[in-house]
Each structure stands twice: as C-alpha cells, then as structure tokens.
Amino acid sequence: MNLSSEIMGNDPAPRLGRAAIAKRVARDLVDGSTVNLGIGIPALCADFLPDGIEVLYHAENGILGFKELSAPGEGNPNLMDAGGKFPKLVPGMAFFDSVESFNLIRGGHIDVTVLGALQVSRTGDLSNWMIPKRGIGSIGGAMDLAANAKKVVIAMEHTARGGIAKIVESCSFPLTAPNCVDQVVTDIAVIDIDRANGRMILRETAPGWTLDDVQAGTGAKLEIDGDIIDIA
C-alpha cells in the first residue's frame, strides 16, 4: 500500500495516497460486473483491478468494455471516455448513444458506481455537484448514477482543506441523491453505510489510526460492528 510519506498536522500516522484509496475500492469489484467510474480518484480504480478479475467499464458518453488509455498524444477523439480521456480500442468493446447509455444507468443495470463527493451524510445522502458559494455546478451523469446504480461507493479524501469534515450528519450542500451511498473509502477509513437504518459503521482504518482519530475528522457518529482492521 502506498502511504503518503509524511504525517500531516495532528494526524497520528500517514494517510493513504489517492492511488491507495483507488486500490482499496478496486479490491472489492466483482468479476463480470458492470462498473462506472467517476472522474478523479474513482478513475484510478481501473489501474488496480486484482488479477483474474474482469469487469466491464461503462462511461456515460457511450462506451462499454474499455480498459487502458492510449499513450499521451495518440488518442482518438472518436474513442473517448466520460472523463475526456482516450482509451484504446480493445476486443469486445461496444459503442452506443446517450439514450442507450442512460437506459443502462436509469434501468438499474450498473452494478457499481464509484464517485467522488463533497459531502456524504450519515444516512447516505450524497452532495457532489455544487458548492453553494460558487452558485453554479455540473451534474453530468452523477444524479442518474447515484440514484440508480445497484451499489454506490464514494472514493475521496476524508476531510476538505483545513480539516473540514466531508462526512457529516446532514449535507449542507445541494444533494445529488438522497440515501444512496453504500460505502465510503477515504485516505483514513472504510465506512459502510446501513442506509435502511441510517448508521455509519467503521470497518477499516489507515495503519496507526484509531476509531477516535477517525471520529475526530468526521461530522457524523461512527459505530462499530465487529473488529476494525487496517486498510490493506
């Protein structure tokens, strides 16, 4: 696992790097599933798929079954992913238009979506499209994915700049979808959300971090159900 090299501020131990967050998320992807990765840390998950596991990556712009990206400068504008990057053409790939792409999403055919977040609430509400102070934001496919994917995983840094909690009791930013997040993977913790009962359960921490350490940077109550293990 790649940890950041230095301990920041009052942290008890290093935090995971962005790649390590993505690697932890990728570990749980199931063979044969259809997966949509958002931009940022989520997009990195594709680099860490465990050996022997194959998933079908979907991108909103109309592509299913892409794998690695083209080398810089070699991309083809007619072979793009939703992040604006250019994947390679691989056997088994399929192209389709936006109607079909959102049939797939809205129809509940996406097994897992991994998204970034500005805030996640105790009950699994997600805010990731607008910071109120800016007054303008971008929804893209996030509302469709959050409301309709079978499993919603958030991959993000645990706190915003200045140590401000992103995991909160109740979102103060405009919602992307209510009660939709199943799991949050951050640079210090893996948290499952029991959406039916509005409970956040701490499952794993970065090495050297305790429940109290993680709770200190979290705006919602974390519960324990069984052992807490190190993120590996």
């Binding site: 991108a59 909103e60 712009n61 109309g62 592509i63 810089p72 400068g73 991309g75 083809n76 504008p77 007619n78 072979l79 793009m80 992913d81 939703a82 604006g84 192209f95 389709f96 238009d97 936006s98 109607v99 792409s101 959102f102 999403i105 809205r106 800016r134 303008i136 934001g137 971008s138 929804i139 893209g140 496919g141 996030a142 509302m143 469709d144 409301a147 309709n148 405009p174 919602l175 992307t176 979808a177 209510p178 009660n179």
Partner: protein
C-alpha cells in the same frame, strides 16, 4: 375515386455548399441543439463556427458537457486549441444554455459560460444528463413527458410533479425540442442516412429527431448504398441539410 400520385422520382438534394449556407436561415432567438458529448469527437465544430460567424443573437443553446474544453482541454487532443459552446457566450450571442455539465471543477481560468452567468448575461439551466437526453428523445418520439427517478430529493425536483410507482418516487419531466439541431456524423449518403463512428454518437442521434431543422456535418458523403443499411445510425427522414468537411481540415 382513386387519387393520382406523381410517381416520377423526386430528387432529394439535402447537400449544402458551405457551412455558412447551411446555417444562414437561423434567426435570432432560435433554440439550437449542439450534438456530441463534449470534446472534439461528435461535435459539429464547423457548423458551430459558422453559427458564430452568422452572428445572430438571443439564442438558446442545448448541449451536454458544455464550454469546458477551452479551459481544461476536455476531450481534445493536446496539440489543438479546443473549441466548445463557450464561443456563443464569448460572442454574446447566447442568452441561455440548457446542459448537464457547464463548468469544470476549477475556476482558474473561468469558462466563458460561467463568466457570462456571473455577469448576468446568460441563464444556465443545469439538467441531469440522463434526464436531458430522455427529454430530447421524448420530444423526437411524440412523448410529451415522462417519469424518472433521477433528481428526486434534490434541487432538480423543485416545483415538479411527484408520483409513486411500486413504492418508489418519480419526477415528471417534460420533452425538450428545438428549432435547429447541429449534429456531427462520420458519413452521410445523399439522402441523409447517417453513420457514426466510435463514441461520437452521444447526443447526436436523439437531437436529430427533436429539432424542426437538423443540419449534419460529415467527413464523407456517399451515394445511396454507400452506407450498409445495417449501420444506419440516423434515418434520412430526420436530416434536412448535409455539409461536407474539407478533407484537409486540421480540426478533428
């Protein structure tokens, strides 16, 4: 009495001589769909530049990812200067855009659309992408409105009818049509059947069905039969005008 029909073949000439000619009747105040997804692939870049040069004002743009390529390079090869829907805001022609993704995460530098919005010169209507494409599809297929689960419990739902089906709540969303659609395809036959390539489909096929006048920018025009009937992505019925790109065009 049996009606008599003129069975002589009617020549179908949908080919425009230039991009300027193809857009020349677009009036000020028109609503205009711009196809593609965002990025260079599938974008009717030359038609957009012709519309900018036409200079008509008070236009409403309907697009998807809009105006972020110029500032972020989104969906463009590194060596080219991106062109996006921001051109209509930079020129002051557009007063409104309906889209799903009008601003990137960063404000440095600020995009033309955000700038126009901040200065009070443009309305920006942000719609979830799946709702946007389905509203366009609905307009082209005779469906005035539909229920979707997307957006329930968010600002998007404000003021909209809610209804429950099988224990889940849905929103009523209305069809979205336009006066013109500017779209992009790889190939057209002279009748207007279109063939797309790769991920360039995106919003193009649905937009072709949802506008009064659909104008397509293509890389190649072939005789009927030059497109395999199995590969027709948009039917000629939807296409009004075809413009051929210059084979040497440096823009993708």
């Amino acid at each position: 009495m049996k009606r008599s029909y003129n069975l002589a073949p009617v020549p179908i000439n949908k080919i425009s001589n230039s991009f300027a000619e193809a857009v020349s009747d677009i009036p000020s105040g028109a609503s205009i769909m711009i196809g593609g997804f965002g990025g260079a692939g599938g974008q009717p870049t030359r038609l957009m530049m012709a519309l900018r040069d036409l200079g008509v004002g008070n236009i409403t743009i309907i697009g998807n990812v809009a105006g972020i390529s110029k500032t972020t390079g989104y969906g463009w090869p590194d060596h080219l200067d991106p062109i996006d829907q921001g051109v209509f805001f930079e020129s002051g022609q557009a007063t409104k855009i309906t889209c799903s993704f009008p601003v990137p995460g960063t404000t440095n530098p600020i995009s033309e659309i955000e700038k126009a919005w901040r200065e009070g010169n443009a309305e920006v209507d942000i719609v979830p992408q799946g709702t946007l494409i389905e509203r366009i599809r609905a307009a082209g297929s005779g469906i005035p409105a539909f229920y979707t689960p997307t957006g329930v419990g968010t600002p998007v739902a404000e003021g909209k009818e809610h209804r429950e089906f099988d224990g889940r709540t849905y929103l009523l969303e209305e069809a979205l049509a336009a006066d013109y659609a500017l779209i992009r395809a790889e190939k057209a036959d002279t009748r207007g059947n279109l063939q797309y390539i790769g991920t360039s489909r995106a919003f193009n096929p649905a937009m072709a069905t949802a506008a009064k006048i659909t104008i397509v920018e293509v890389d190649e025009i072939v005789e009927p039969g030059g497109i395999d009937p199995e590969r027709v992505g948009t039917l000629s019925t939807y296409v009004d005008r075809i413009v051929l790109r210059d084979a040497e065009d440096p823009l993708p």
